[in-house]
């Protein structure tokens, strides 16, 4: 491919990134040592410590950076670059410094918060919780800014960095914070680095995201745990009720049975279907990497539809009764499950929540009760690729990876993109360098050093491309 972006300042920045890779790795490892698990209150101080670390690092690079309190974990906001009057674009970069829990801990090969750069048959990787999701990814942008500033004394455009610390726990403070600080945060376009490459060496810009609805249900039967020898056969067992409820969520063809669930689910347009077919997605290989072979979704749908454009219902956790070693003939008082729905098109998360609750309540026998706890509700999102940033960014990614960047869908839910549009009026570009085998949300999470290194270089190129006068 020809270089599409001959910005004269860029080569020195790329050289500096190459020369300082070890320094960048050291800084990332320091951030990874902080166990900023946002969903677990025991790690509250660690989340604040991660925010402090970022503020200090950004300040040292010349950003006007600060930690902003919220009712939950703090935000980090930092500004740098030419003043508002200058004729350069204003970019907002978003990432999150919080990480997923680490259980089951016994499946980790090492302490999740003792990061290490390891040689593997597939290349060097950074091994730690958060290496890929999202500390390694957010640091690709920070390091690109560092190299640019170090080399040229300033950034080529106005940049606002915005890090949150609650992405892995439903982002309860995010929308109020965006509303309260809309003037400060609104920019020409948002850059979000929390996604992956399309394939091993193929960069991607996500243009379609699924929404997410989380529900926790607890079924209560007897007022206390009972002895199954004394009560078994006569007293209702809440695990039995919960099993019936959960087993009813999918029919035999894999369709979800919540009434009205498919309202607003579009069929993908013919051209997009053609484009996805053209990606020659290897679903056997994708599933084979995790020990599976059969598509488990709705009958008659292609794999990328299941992953990107069809809604899902997953049971993310279940517990009830005695689950320790050995056996205990208990008839438990309670059983609970966490259920999430990935949403597409115009599905309304709030209507689905109500329909789900009504359906479950209708299945509870008279001697049991059910309670619900809401865990987030975000609709699906779709980006407008005709915006001015998309094609230059796509070209810049192509320069770095020697492969045209793909516009792709994503099965995950990154509600921030929708919030930026709704509350700050700006489009978002989702660009990331994770890989399918990064084991995010799983034991032994890693981030390829190549992803980290080429990610930094990608952002340097994108900054150059978006700052170029056209």
């Amino acid at each position: 491919m020809t270089q599409t972006n001959p910005n004269p300042l860029l080569p020195a920045v790329l050289d500096r990134i190459d020369a300082d890779l070890d320094g960048a790795l050291d800084r990332l490892l320091a951030l990874l040592r902080i166990p900023s698990i946002s969903t677990d209150p025991a790690y509250k101080a660690d989340c604040a410590r991660a925010a402090d670390w970022l503020v200090e690092d950004l300040t040292a690079m010349g950003f006007d950076a600060s930690k902003r309190p919220t009712p939950g974990h703090p935000m980090v906001v930092a500004h740098a670059g030419p003043d508002a009057g200058a004729d350069v674009p204003h970019l907002l970069f978003y990432g999150h410094y919080d990480v997923q829990p680490v259980d089951p801990l016994d499946l980790w090969d090492r302490d999740p918060f003792d990061p290490q750069v390891q040689d593997t048959p597939k290349g060097r990787v950074i091994r730690a919780r958060g290496a890929s999701d999202d500390k390694g990814q957010l640091m690709t942008f920070v390091e690109a800014c560092r190299a640019w500033t170090a080399e040229h004394g300033s950034l080529p455009c106005r940049i606002t960095i915005f890090f949150e610390g609650e992405e892995e726990s439903g982002s309860p403070s995010l929308v109020p914070f965006l509303k309260d600080n809309a003037d400060e945060l609104a920019a020409d376009v948002a850059l979000i680095c929390d996604t992956g490459l399309f394939a091993d060496k193929v960069p991607a810009i996500i243009t379609q995201l699924r929404g997410l609805l989380g529900e926790e249900l607890t079924i209560t039967g007897p007022a206390k745990d009972l002895h199954s020898g004394m009560y078994g056969g006569a007293a209702m067992n809440p695990i039995r009720v919960l099993s019936k409820v959960l087993a009813s969520l999918h029919d035999d063809t894999g369709r979800i049975t919540v009434p009205g669930f498919y309202d607003g689910v579009p069929e993908i347009p013919a051209d997009l279907r053609g484009a996805w077919e053209g990606l020659s997605f290897d679903h056997k290989g994708f599933l084979g990497e995790v020990g599976l072979s059969e598509l488990a979704g709705e009958e008659g749908r292609m794999a990328l539809e299941m992953l990107w454009s069809r809604p899902t219902c997953e049971i993310n956790g279940i517990k009830g009764g005695y689950t320790g070693d050995g056996f205990k003939t208990v008839l438990p008082s309670q059983a609970s499950a966490k259920v999430s729905f990935r949403l597409v098109g115009d599905q309304d998360p709030h209507r689905i929540r109500e329909a789900f609750r009504t359906m479950v309540e209708g299945m509870i026998p008279s001697d049991c009760s059910v309670s619900f706890k809401a865990h987030g509700a975000s609709p699906a999102g779709r980006m407008d690729t005709s915006g001015p940033a998309f094609e230059p960014a796509r070209a810049a990614l192509g320069d770095e990876w020697n492969m045209p960047a793909a516009y792709v869908g994503c099965g995950g839910s990154i509600p921030i993109a929708g919030y930026f549009k709704t509350h700050l009026g700006m489009d978002a570009m989702l660009i990331g360098f994770g890989r399918d085998d990064d084991q995010i949300h799983s034991p032994n999470e890693k981030y390829d050093v190549e992803s980290f290194h080429k990610g930094m270089r990608s952002w340097a190129r994108i900054l150059a491309a978006l700052s170029a006068k056209t």
Copy 2:
């Protein structure tokens, strides 16, 4: 009622039991302080300590007592009374010194192993894990022996005491130990104290017990935990599979669907049905005490049938995925459940185990696998009340409680009774003083001081009755 057993040695023994109640409580509390949870390997040393405590106590009373090693937790065996040649009966007394786990610990009002005698609106109770099941009960017999020996210098018959430490964890060492020590343990009749009164003040001898089959199943889908945003919709979720399996175990009428499960399940004879109807069992009150009101068993069966003579299937525990605070959109690799079946009549636990496993295996999709772990398999038991010990013991109980003792069924499973018959050739009498509200296997377990006190007196009377020359 007239006193049916005018043994001249008895009144002084009963008086001594009354006078030494506080001493007996102190001794029980000392035993209750030892956290002998047999199912959890972390408490192995505590189980051994409970056995040591009993050996020491029995030795001090004049028993020839010893701790016997097994591959699991030790047995305690102790002998006392006239030599083998004497013309007195030989009784074997069985109890277990191990206790159930204590979770959920946050539902206990106090440390489960810091026992206390408490005043309650219903009378004084001993509050601790194991107070009723089975330390308080086994000590009723030990204290009766202590009083008899202290008062008269010797016991009125030959007594062998046999305590196990694995009853709450499937008794893996029991049958081999009985086989290896059959000559030492065989007696004229076995006395087992691990059951309850029929009603608040109505003593009972259990003549019918349900069997127990325990199974743990683990379903594995993906080779590791996955991110539901990345894989959800395409990859099979083992919790979904497990829910379908568990939901299928009962049909809509409450019948269990395992093929052949009801083979060998008898209808209760007309006379027994009449007797049970005569007990005027208050199932609304029974269920109401634990916050329930509706019978959950097979349609058309009376409550005592559900509890005593019909087989059951209960899910005792379930786990999978993320179950901590907050939410984690994991698609887990594994999900597992503990399932138990209470068996009656001639149901064959081994055939049912095979049928259950075959049924489950038939429900597992191609991308998942299932593994099973066996947790005990004992058939149901029925006692022959025409044996010489039953009527005298029943009369002795009637003397103590001023109510005729009932011959009743029991929903629980006490396989030891069957093992005594099979391996030692002796019948067993199951006599205990627990109450329905003892919360055994639950938080805040208790044993009424009245149960403890009148239990000791009951055993003193039974020893007198069974030793009487007829």
